[in-house]
Symmetry: C2
Subunit: 364 residues, 2 copies
């Protein structure tokens, strides 16, 4: 839960950052901020937390140029805004921050594009060790939905809400709030968590009662999952000790969706310990399934081939399993969507495919 205490820690860290600039000035140094280099070559596997984090290489934002000085000025203004926001128990979106800067008294401190303000917030996350959610910065788009035997309590601005994610929700399920750390898990009957890429497949599983029959919690990823969706998935795994499996289309873009659940992204490796579920496993559609279940396919486009080749060189996919599957796919030159399972009938996915795959994986 995002508590008063979390808010105070966030404020403190932000003020510490500003104080550091001040101390550098006071001691006659040129103020600067050091930030890990955020590229594929600077991520390393952390054995302890089992996630990919940034390595030792850093980049410096220094006031030794006009451009650099302006960056630190903007950082100082943003810090002031965030500290005030936390004090008032308000929140805002990244886009609102960008527009809001137009009201700042110093024109040099105003952001010239939303990319600039977005990046600054990421920098502040990294340097302060506090997540954007704890700054009370909301994303533009909300998380997805849950359906399954889970009872939770959400702390809203309007008081607590206790919600059972099957009995108290409509067919659309429970909408994950922007900051899922406002949720406490009260009770559950879940055997495993099933993250599903597409809305069509999510609805299929719910219509067929898969969550009821197999005591599973269906998490709709809605394509590339929002931070809120990844965060709640991680918390379900860590706090309730539940296996997590990911069910997507069978193409390189969907493997990246799996990757973002399991390994985190290169752009936000500073958040891996907060967002990634390294124990999450991939159900499919595997290239092997395309062959085994003789699924309707589309040919790989050039961009698919490039993406697969780039995955072969990505340290996060350097396992025997992924090497084998990706090489198989490059060999058969085909991809398949998860809804292609409907070519064997609408119940094939819940009666045959998932039970077979989950048994083979030892989840059932």
């Amino acid at each position: 839960m995002s508590t008063k205490q979390d808010d105070e820690i966030a404020q403190e860290r932000l003020v510490d950052l500003a104080a550091e600039f001040y101390d550098q000035f006071a001691s006659g140094e040129v103020p600067q901020m050091n930030i890990p280099t955020r590229t594929k070559s600077n991520i390393v596997f952390d054995e302890e937390s089992k996630v990919w984090v940034y390595g030792d290489r850093t980049s410096t934002r220094s006031a030794n140029s006009v451009r650099g000085a302006r960056k630190l000025l903007k950082a100082a203004y943003a810090i002031e805004f965030l500290v005030n926001q936390l004090e008032a128990d308000r929140s805002s979106t990244l886009r609102e921050l960008y527009y809001l800067s137009e009201s700042w008294d110093n024109e040099e401190a105003q952001f010239s594009s939303q990319d600039e303000s977005n990046q600054l917030i990421e920098d502040l996350e990294i340097v302060s060790g506090v997540t954007r959610e704890d700054f009370h910065m909301r994303p533009e788009e909300s998380g997805a939905t849950l359906m399954g035997p889970l009872e939770l309590r959400e702390q809203t601005r309007r008081g607590e809400r206790e919600i059972h994610c099957q009995k108290d929700v409509g067919e659309g399920g429970y909408q994950i709030p922007n900051n899922p750390d406002t949720i406490d898990f009260l009770d559950h009957d879940i055997d495993f968590v099933l993250c599903v890429e597409t809305g069509g497949m999510r609805d299929r599983l719910v219509e067929n009662g898969f969550d009821e029959e197999y005591n599973c919690l269906v998490v709709h990823l809605k394509g590339q999952p929002a931070r809120a969706t990844r965060r709640i998935t991680k918390r379900l795994h860590d706090e309730l000790d539940l296996p997590v499996v990911v069910f997507t289309d069978g193409d390189p873009w969907s493997y990246r969706i799996y990757g973002s659940v399991a390994y985190g992204s290169i752009k936000s490796a500073h958040l891996s310990e907060y967002l990634a579920t390294p124990e999450a496993r991939f159900v499919g559609i595997q290239p092997e399934d395309i062959v085994e279940y003789d699924l309707p396919t589309d040919p790989l486009a050039d961009s698919d081939v490039n993406a697969l080749e780039s995955e072969l060189e990505d340290p996060r996919f350097e396992t025997d399993y992924w090497t084998e599957q990706i090489e198989l796919q490059l060999d058969i030159e085909k991809k398949a969507e998860q809804q292609a399972l409907a070519s064997r009938g609408l119940d094939f996915v819940t009666d045959t495919y998932l039970p077979e795959r989950l048994s083979a994986m030892g989840v059932l």
Copy 2:
């Protein structure tokens, strides 16, 4: 509500269609299906229902060519599938239908692309006068969310759920199901319905308690609204006699979002009476607001200018209000996002802008 009776009507109409092909065959005619021409030049304003519907021009799908005959064969197979689906009280997505056709015994009846199966379902909607929802065809992506003083009952496959859209939901709100005709409105305290384009603005309104202070129901459109979102908006207006206002960014694409709520789309003018809320009014961001509130703007791109010019020629936008606003925008050559209101502070939208605009419109 989608009742057993609705299902029976849908089945009957579908079987009637197939019977018509049969009768045509039996009487020695070449089977055919007549469908309204779906272009901008063939939509007319229906004075009675106040929505734009198709005019008199029709296109014919006839079996007098191999291509045409194959189309009718596919229609016959799809009709059989839909009738069976309704009998079994199942449902499926458009994509599942496409894949499922691979299991049909006649290869000529299988769809060669999803565009083809999508279009066939639209044709069947038009010819049968039954909506896709009543065929039990689900969209890929679900509707958006509601937040406000509304108590409803949703008929789910797992029984009835009674939900208050403030007291029984988290901050994410109530997720609209794929077919909102499974909802009954039980009780409400709503003065007006406020449809909002972006997630960031929706969250701002909810954080600021705008729904509580003004007794309004906030409907998140999520960009171009899904059918489910438009349908429930229309039902709120018609059944509860509530004013509906639409709040979007200030650019031509957003005016189209307003247009799809108010007037329906050219592609689905056969559904206007089911989906469109012609009494819905546009709050803003109006081009006039850009000037009046001195909002941060972006210059119009060429594609924006083209879209605005095309709207000037669109019969649905041929009103004094829209002509004036669009000409003003072409003149100032600027557009603004709804979140640009944050340049005047995070509460400006709820304390000043919306109260001023809604008072001027007579809604408050």
